[in-house]
């Protein structure tokens, strides 16, 4: 599948810093992240838990609450900065230009409002349609995410739906105002494996139908490798590697990416034990000098403890922040 990449990206995140000022110290959850998403592209944002992935998503929508704060950088939507935009501008962006799908469908719908009312809210905010047209739009949308008897279901409450159905409703709400970018934050993590693939298929089909872009936030490389055009790998709030999906999966250059890929269970080969990355994520309130990954890295040398690596071009489309990147074919 080839997609045309326009010169000006739909969304450009530049040197984003989002910090949380807690009693225990400043948590630099996002610490200089940059990436771009072109129109119609799917970008995978990958990393371990606590790697700052979700915070990137919430930062884009301006949904960072105190004690969190965007401390620096720019988030350009069509070249217009959202970091410096006021709440009114952000409210126009939310739901209409950029919408979001949350991880847990059990908690992302209001339990006391009907599904119809929660869908209608989006159209009330972002369209000029009259009540009848809004209702029809909701019915059409529910049907397009695979919910039958949609008109009846509008009157139902979230607790009358299963988890997979609720995530379909959440996706329907996210797609309703035809946004140009969907941020999906671990959209299938809370679901059964069998439902996961259905939902992923649905999301891919929805964004393809509507020509929308997507940022897919996940810890699951297997999922992004199926869905994404590009992948950005985050570690401790920094981009450690990015590039086209195929190259990044097949010939990663950063030892962390390599570790993530190796820890995917391979059904073809039987290992006695799953591979894992040794150690754990360092305390991000207190990051070490030099490379954040050095303590867990099999290739670390003296230089890694002294100087923090910056993103540099590697082979193909890949960029990695590593002093000693892997060459194609080389194992960690």
């Amino acid at each position: 599948m080839t997609r045309q990449i326009k010169s000006k990206p739909l969304l450009a995140v530049q040197d984003l810093h989002t910090h949380f000022h807690t009693f225990a110290g400043t948590v630099k959850a996002v610490n200089g992240v940059s990436f771009e998403v072109g129109a119609g592209e799917v970008m995978g944002l990958v990393g371990e838990s606590g790697g700052g992935k979700s915070v990137v998503g919430f930062s884009i929508l301006g949904l960072i609450d105190s004690p969190g704060k965007i401390e620096g950088g720019q988030i350009l939507l069509d070249g217009q900065d959202l970091v410096s935009a006021g709440e009114n501008r952000l409210r126009q962006v939310r739901g209409r230009e950029i919408s979001m799908v949350f991880q847990d469908p059990m908690t992302s719908l209001n339990p006391l409002h009907t599904v119809g009312r929660q869908m209608d809210e989006v159209l009330c905010l972002h369209s000029d349609l009259d009540a009848a047209a809004r209702k029809q739009a909701c019915i059409d949308m529910l049907e397009s995410v695979g919910i039958s008897r949609a008109e009846e279901r509008l009157k139902a409450y979230p607790h009358q739906f299963s988890g997979g159905m609720r995530q379909r409703v959440v996706i329907a709400i996210a797609m309703l105002a035809r946004p140009r970018l969907i941020i999906a934050d671990e959209p299938t993590t809370a679901l059964d494996v069998t439902i996961q693939s259905q939902i992923l298929k649905l999301m891919r089909q929805q964004i393809a139908d509507k020509g929308a872009s997507m940022i897919l936030i996940t810890h699951d490389l297997a999922v992004v490798s199926e869905m994404a055009d590009h992948i950005t790998v985050l570690y401790c709030g920094n981009v450690v590697e990015r590039g086209k999906t195929r190259e990044l999966i097949e010939t990663p250059t950063h030892p962390y990416t390599r570790g993530l890929i190796d820890s995917i269970p391979d059904t073809a080969e039987r290992h006695d034990r799953l591979k894992q990355i040794p150690g754990s994520v360092p305390d991000i309130r207190n990051l070490p000098k030099g490379c954040n990954f050095k303590d867990r890295c099999p290739r670390a040398q003296a230089l890694c403890a002294e100087r923090e690596p910056t993103l540099t071009a590697q082979h193909g489309s890949l960029w990695a922040a590593c002093h000693f990147p892997l060459k194609p074919g080389e194992l960690a």
Binding site: L61, R91, Q92, R94, V122
Partner: protein, 321 residues
Amino acid sequence: MFGYLLKRLIQMTLVLWVVSVIVFLMMSFTGDPVFMVVPIDATDAEIAQARRLLGLDQSLLVQYGKFLTSLVQGDFGNSYVFRQPAMTLILERMPATVEMVLVAMALAIVVAIPLGVYAGANPNSRISRVIMAGSLLGISLPGFWVGMVLIYLFAVHWGVFPSSGRGDTAEFLGLRISLLTWDGWHHIMLPAITLSLGTMAILLRMTRAGMMEVGRQDFMKFARAKGATRRDVLYKHGLKNALIPVVTIFGLQLGDLIAFATITETIFSWPGMGKLLIDSIYRADRPVIVVYLMLVALIFVVINFIVDIVYTLIDPRITLK
């Protein structure tokens, strides 16, 4: 639904019956009302006759049987003091109490809900801290003191509101109501404010706690991600989810204020039923006390029933079974 109603009705009757036993026993073991009816210089024979007339010479069981029969028949006996049906005495005074309580509750809601929502949504702001400190005062300051301060400031010092009485009333459906006249409104403000402060503070704190809890829920963030205004997120999505405990407390407080507005009524010489209760207790006017307590029990039972129905209106996951 019909089955539920029937079950509730039986439950309510059972509660009222238990209350009637407790009330009856309490009355039988406290004081001897005969001495309230006979003159100070009555002879033993006169006392015995009065006892017989009041039916106090029979066994407790027989007395209770008679008591219950007349309760069921709606005959609550005559006040020993006023020589009028006890029920009539209370019902005459009830509108005054009820309207004062309703104004107090309305005041409490109008102030407590918005402030509670604000304090719950911005727990760290300076205004919230002021609100919370104020609510602590509202809970801890005793009503009689607040009443006296209000009288001093608004009645004595500034002379904006009258300090006592009910003012002009107008007749509506045979009831005398202050809220239908300007003068009545004038008179009701100070007692209603005094009565509302405690409830206001409790409702405010419940609302705040609920909003803080709800604020952490994903659906609140999802609503914001849809582009909803902060106000809509707080009031349309948040408040409704925080409301169940608030409604519970509201129901209990409503019953409590109707039943025991006594202190406030005394301070402001408000001619309600609380004052009648205190007078009747002093005079050991049993029939009045009994009717009063039974009525209070009925009010609580009915309010609780209504609260349960309100739950189902708020939360579709709660059903009446």
